[in-house]
């Protein structure tokens, strides 16, 4: 049974931390004033100190620590042993499961990110055509994105069952029969695992992207369309020359976020057991928390970071060619 002294100690500890932070703020302020910094500036520095400390302790230190741990043999329970680049050597040259997981993850991202954007753009465009009750539709589209990932995963695992209980196979069986094929076994067959995950991904990403794109579409100045109407432009030219260029900043943002989320995909992979390799992040989790190889897991995390960084930089570099900012055009 919980007892009051457990909570009292926790409360005292929290209060102590708060008092220490306030003390450091005051010392910082006085120290800066003492060395001649203006009082207004010193106050500013003192006030941002808690955030800065939080950044150092909760962001910078773990990032630096994981970089160090990636160079060690660390089993979580004992002191890490420095092994240099051995983890990276094993990862890149010997670990077939890493490459299989990476292939699955990259294939998943390569399919779901552009397809998700295209479908979201289509849905947002339809919703932007003066549909009645757009607020309701927007809510309905966004609803899946706020459901917990494990609920979505379990739901889709059930829907993609290979037998009579699987709603997807029950609905599509006549189509497969037309081609003389059996319905896919989805998560029970290594060849169809990827497509099972792709279908699952649209549930949340499609809806969230649609709402953001709809907001982007609403921000396109109406006078552009009116001017095009005067010039006699049809639907497709207007979409091609007004909607798409005006929407490129939104597409750019969603593309970057989609790439990051795609490479880091984790939750649906954790809740759906698959026959062979799983996503890279699930493999990382398995190495760190099931096999006690936290040093190796840290190396995987850094390789993932590099992959995300390279892809993001590539998109940024390419954005000059395809992202249109009206403010820059005016300059």
């Amino acid at each position: 049974m919980p007892r009051i002294e457990w909570y009292a100690e926790t409360l005292l500890r929290y209060a102590f931390v708060a008092a220490v932070i306030v003390g450091i703020m005051l010392l910082t302020y006085r120290g800066l004033v003492a060395v001649g910094v203006r009082r207004q500036t010193a106050t500013g520095f003192a006030l941002i100190l808690p955030w800065f400390l939080g950044f150092l302790i909760w962001n910078l230190f773990p990032v630096a620590a994981s970089l160090y741990l990636s160079l060690t043999n660390y089993n979580i329970l004992q002191t890490p042993d420095f092994v240099g680049l051995a983890n990276y050597d094993r990862l890149l040259n010997q670990d077939q499961q890493f490459w299989a997981s990476l292939r699955l993850t990259m294939a998943y991202s390569a399919i779901t990110v552009p397809l998700g954007l295209a479908l979201a753009l289509l849905a947002a465009t339809l919703l932007n055509q003066g549909v009645r009750g757009v607020g309701l539709w927007r809510t309905l589209y966004y609803l899946p994105a706020v459901l917990p990932a494990f609920v979505t995963a379990l739901l889709w695992r059930f829907m993609l069952l290979p037998t009579r209980s699987g709603l997807v196979n029950t609905a599509t069986e006549p189509i497969w029969s037309l081609f003389g094929d059996n319905a896919p076994r989805w998560f029970l067959d290594p060849d169809t695992v990827l497509w099972g995950f792709v279908i699952m991904s649209f549930w949340g990403v499609f809806g969230a992207n649609t709402v953001i794109m709809l907001a982007g579409l609403k921000n396109i100045p109406r006078d552009l369309y009116e001017a095009a109407d005067v010039d006699g432009a049809g639907i497709l030219p207007k979409f091609r020359h007004i909607t798409l260029p005006q929407l490129t900043p939104t597409l750019f943002y969603l593309l970057i976020m989609g790439i990051i989320a795609g490479v880091q995909i984790f939750d649906i992979g954790l809740f759906v057991r698959v026959p062979r390799e799983n996503f890279l992040n699930v493999y990382l989790y398995q190495q760190g928390f099931t096999f006690f190889n936290m040093g190796y897991a840290s190396a995987i995390a850094w390789v993932m970071l590099v992959i995300i960084l390279v892809l993001t930089l590539a998109v940024f570099r390419s954005s000059q060619a395809w992202v249109y900012y009206e403010s820059e055009a005016r300059r």
Partner: protein, 461 residues
Amino acid sequence: MHSGLMRIAGLTAAISLVATACASPGATPSRGAGASPTVAGASPTVTAAPPSQDAATPTQPAAQKVTYRLTTWAGEDESNELQELVLDEINASQSEFEIVHEPAPADYYTKLQTTLAGGTGADFMWLSQEYVAGYASRGALLDLTEPLKAIDSPAAAVDRYFPDVMSTALYQDHVYGLPWISQPVVLYYNPALFDAANIDYPDDTWDWDTFLTNAKALTKDTDGDGTPDQYGFSASGWPPVHMFIWQAGGDVISDDLKSSPIDSPEAIAGAEFYKSLIYNPECCPTEDTIAEQGFGEMFKAGTVAMFMGGASDTFESADGTVLDIGASVVPMGPTSRTTFAWTGSTVVNSTVENPELAVKALVALTDGIQHWKIVSPNMDLATKEVVTASLPDKWKDQKGPQVEAILASTSDMRSFNVIPRQQEWDDLFWREFQDKLYHDQGTAADLAAAARTQLEALLPE
């Protein structure tokens, strides 16, 4: 400006206090008075024993008790039983210590690792058999070998445990845990389906051939749609293939932990027999059917006639009716009737304060659990009287007639030979051998030969 800053600082502190006051009730109980013994030096933290509940009793000076934290994977029902049947009695009878239970039914091993790494691990922990060597080899567990010798209790007498079960709590011949359960796999059967097929119930005369023949005979297409809807047996990776390999005279990790002879003729024979069962629609549900209807659920629903499960498994229908289920020893293999025993141990955190008292508490705890769980790994408690007395009233009618088969199975039970990197080994054994074998990606001999080298690379040097 200075006073303004002071006001802001004061406000920040006040908000922090309010926020922490609101947040703390949801926080995890931390080390301290109710946590592990943590007073500086060798003296453990002590707490006052609860005051007498008898209001008429004059107030007595509170006795000083050490509080030890126990973490387990027990769910709600099991936690309540543990508290009521074991811990309450221990805490009431002991004057030196009390044990506080902190169940963690979800994501148990991740929580265990992270709390140990963070220095907030519990004093006592439940570990399944495949984890003890790993935690011991990484220095997380207290060596119990010497402290146990000083305690006169049946639970401390390691030579009174079933040797194969006790071996799962050893690492390099040192004792790192006390097993509290040894569940041999037994063959459960549905008498109604046997009666309908006019087949005799399983018994100790059955061997692999009898088993497979009857499993096929019990597999039926009752509605005539061309696919079976009643099966003789069900396998899905459980029971572990190890059991059949052992019965054929083979092994997956040798007793000296130096080799993984999964490509021996005996091991191949065991794996091939398992392959003849799993997902074979002539006797067993396919993988798709199991995914749809559930592995254990099919037996409870009466669509599977035989099921291999742990000795303490209980069976009730979806509406809560206790089912009529029989039990037998598992069928005889080519060389033995060896059956797998799932084993759990309680281990002690290596950083526990006052280790002598902690081991004393561990022994009391183990003794209590061994009188609660079936089957006790202590040979002296693996008797019909003790097992029958341990059965909850709800299950007496079902489990009572099964006790003889359960106890008969204890003489043939064994556990895994466990290595520190057991989880990696298990994953590889599944991925490179079992999964491929069950999905027709090679013969048992070819797959075993290919996997052996990789498996042996994970064995201790």
